[in-house]
Amino acid sequence: MANPIDQAMSQDTRVSRRQALTLTSIAALLGANAVVWFSNLLFFKPRVTYGEPSRFRLGKPDAFPLGTRLPLGSQRVTIIRNEAGVAAISNTCTHLGCVVATTEIGFDCPCHGSRFDAEGTVLGGPAPRPLPWFKVSLSPNGELEVDTATPVPAGTFLKV
């Protein structure tokens, strides 16, 4: 222990060339590994599918006069327009996913008889939850835009 050379070595705080190379290699390989894992995890979530796009445009607000209750078949939403504004209510039954029928006073599910009122609240039948409402916004070119990926609380209307 009293060897002066050993003492000098242990006091030298500089990293040797050999250590530096080793550390660089380890860091780079671990970094590459991390990038691979991270991107693999990102790939799990598809960025786009071949289904109907979740965000779609409806046209100018003028196309929906007061009192409109218009079901859109392929997009599975009903567009409502009243004094409060425009809203979009899902047409998919919360029980087993059937398409509900839009009526004057509410929604009827043909599969198991669930009934909803005009705002989608459950009136009867097996449906466990009210029909969700979707976000309606104005797109930059002034058309209405519905985003079925973003639910909003019932009673949220877009003022137009």
Binding site: L21, S25, L29, G31, A32, V35, S39, P140, N141
Partner: protein
């Protein structure tokens, strides 16, 4: 070792970084960010502004299900401002699409009109500008090609370029060689029914500009079209995207085959007000109209119009009779064996009208001076320098004679040269000029040619040739068989096994070996002339003196001539007697 490991490790990290960046930081995300930013600046109202600024880029796609195969168009991932009217002056990709009423993006998508690859998300892939993608994005001048895929009523006024191209397709005689299902039934060139599906506009344009651009052996004549005409024709051809045969149901295929017109209805070729007046026109006038409408002048020359491909029609009245013209219209190859003129898919009445017109049309005045005569009548084929390379020479078979070749010119008598000018050379494009020039005029022209172009004064004309005037061997099947054996030993290397002049050596030989199946030509020759050409060869060409080089005696040559004659009879079995001759020329020496 450690150096290497460290360097490789860093490279691996860099590589993964690049791939990660490439996958997760695409251009379209930047474009969308830029768009939302700009749109927010242009928007009034704090809520809307905030909403726009909070938007995350996502792949925008339209799934088009209404038109045949499902299309997925993601073009708006970059071109996100197409339906925002405030960006008309912005740079691409963030520019507003000009309004097209009734064609919503959600219903029609983008590639329906513009082509390209709708699924791709980078510029090269989406615009399809890399090689091997058959439908690269169409430039705006060619977009009509896709309009008429749906608006396919003929003559739809929304597509003027397609209509002009369609006219050119007939006026330039394209329809005589090329088939477009429902439009034409030519069988010489490739079918163009699916041309727009199979070819890019660049390919088609290059092909029309120079038919030999992609295929050096193409026989398609080049057309002298202006750039505008060419682009009209390209748009019309790009619009030809009929269903591929392998995807058409069998019934539809059979129905299309049954409907294939044997000849074209006149309404297709002429526009309607002209075809309505046809019935009351005199034949000749109708012929003049046809000549322009069915594309004769796309190749031929008549007065001031010159297609620079086929022979001059101006002197037809003095050169041809009605029988020759009608035979030629029905099957051009039956009178000129090497003709590239397509047999026209038109009814007999039109041929009759054209014939009448060509026979009554006044013949242009002929200059008196032989020099001007040569320039006006001969130079188009034989060339201004007399070297056989006039403007149209590549389209003629056999090619025009090289008049500067002294060894050939000297080996023929002046009488024979004059006779060739006066009577023409049957089976070739050399027309009889006797009625145009007269006997003295023809002789003067030959003298002019000999004096001007024949510079080989040292070449002596051949002398002391002994040629029998009639065949010493009777025409019998045995003789024909012997002749065939000699032919397959000695002659086929140049003349070809079928004796059609396309032997393996023929490609390097100018002038080309004779096509011995050219019946009009062979029948026009006297026995003596055939015998002389075989025995003594043809000077100035590659034909050797077979009588000496191959030691063929008069009897063997007689067998060969019998074999050649047997090729030029339509009967399958060898006939009992030799076919009739129409020969007038005789060898004198």
């Amino acid at each position: 070792m450690r150096y290497a490991l460290a360097i490789i490790s860093v490279l691996v990290l860099a590589l993964h970084g690049i791939v990660f960046y490439d996958q997760f930081f695409a251009k379209w995300q930047d474009y969308q960010d830029e768009y939302y930013q700009k749109a927010a600046e242009l928007t009034d109202g704090a809520d809307l502004k905030k909403d726009l600024q909070s938007r995350k880029p996502q792949i925008e796609q339209t799934i088009v299900r209404g038109f045949g195969e499902e299309r997925v168009d993601r073009c708006m991932s970059c071109h996100i401002a197409v339906d925002d009217p405030r960006f008309t002056k912005a740079d691409q990709p963030l520019r507003t699409h000009p309004p097209v009423p009734g064609h919503g993006f959600a219903t029609f998508g983008c590639t329906m009109c513009h082509d390209g690859n709708g699924r791709a998300l980078d510029q090269v892939g989406a615009h399809g500008t890399h090689p091997h993608w058959p439908w690269p994005i169409l430039p705006n001048w060619a977009i009509e090609a896709n309009c008429v895929q749906c608006h396919n009523e003929p003559g739809w006024e929304g597509a003027p370029a397609v209509n002009r191209g369609r006219r050119l397709f007939f006026e330039r005689a394209c329809f005589t060689c090329h088939t477009i299902a429902g439009l034409s039934a030519g069988s010489i060139g490739p079918e163009l029914t699916n041309e727009g599906r199979n070819r890019t506009i660049e390919f088609v344009d290059a092909k029309i500009e120079n038919p030999r651009a992609q295929n050096p052996t193409s026989t398609m004549p080049r057309q002298n079209l202006t750039k505008e005409q060419r682009s009209d024709l390209v748009v019309f051809l790009k619009a030809q995207q009929g269903q591929h045969i392998s995807r058409a149901p069998l019934q539809a295929f059979r129905a299309a085959q049954a409907d294939r017109p044997k000849w074209l209805p006149l309404e297709l070729v002429l526009n309607s007000e002209k075809s309505a007046a046809l019935g009351t026109m005199p034949d000749a006038e109708r012929g003049a109209l046809m000549l322009q409408s069915v594309g004769c002048l796309a190749c031929h020359k008549l007065d001031a119009v010159d297609g620079k491909v086929g022979p001059d029609l101006g002197y037809s009245a003095s050169q041809r009779d009605a029988t020759w013209l009608m035979t030629h219209f029905n099957d051009p190859k039956s009178v000129v064996a090497g003709s590239i003129m397509p047999p026209y898919p038109l009814p007999e009445e039109i041929f009759k009208a054209l014939t009448d017109y060509l026979l009554v049309k006044p013949v242009p005045a002929v200059p008196a001076d032989p020099k001007e005569q040569f320039a006006a009548l001969c130079a188009r084929c034989h060339g201004e320098n007399g070297n056989g390379e006039g403007v149209i020479y590549t389209f003629l078979d056999p090619r025009p004679r090289d008049l500067t070749k002294a060894s050939f010119m000297k080996s023929k008598t002046r009488e024979r040269l004059v006779a060739s000018v006066m009577n023409g050379v049957p089976g070739t494009s050399m027309a009889p000029w006797g009625r145009v020039l007269g006997e003295q005029g023809s002789a003067a022209l030959v003298d002019y040619v000999l004096a001007t172009y024949d510079k080989g004064s040292s070449v002596k004309p051949p002398a002391n040739r002994v040629v029998p005037q009639t065949n010493p061997v009777a025409y019998t099947p045995d003789s024909v068989k012997r002749g065939e054996e000699i032919f397959l030993n000695r002659c086929w290397g140049c003349h070809g096994k079928k004796a059609d002049g396309h032997g393996p050596n023929a490609v390097d030989i100018h002038p080309r070996p004779r096509n011995l199946r050219n019946t009009p030509f062979v029948r026009s020759l006297s026995y003596a002339r055939l015998h002389e050409s075989i025995k003594y060869g043809v000077q100035g060409t590659a034909m050797p003196a077979a009588g000496y080089d191959f030691a063929l005696g008069d009897k063997s040559i007689g067998d060969l001539v019998n074999y050649i004659e047997s090729l030029n009879t339509k009967q399958a079995a060898a006939p009992a007697t030799a076919p009739a001759r129409t020969a007038t020329t005789e060898v004198t020496q």
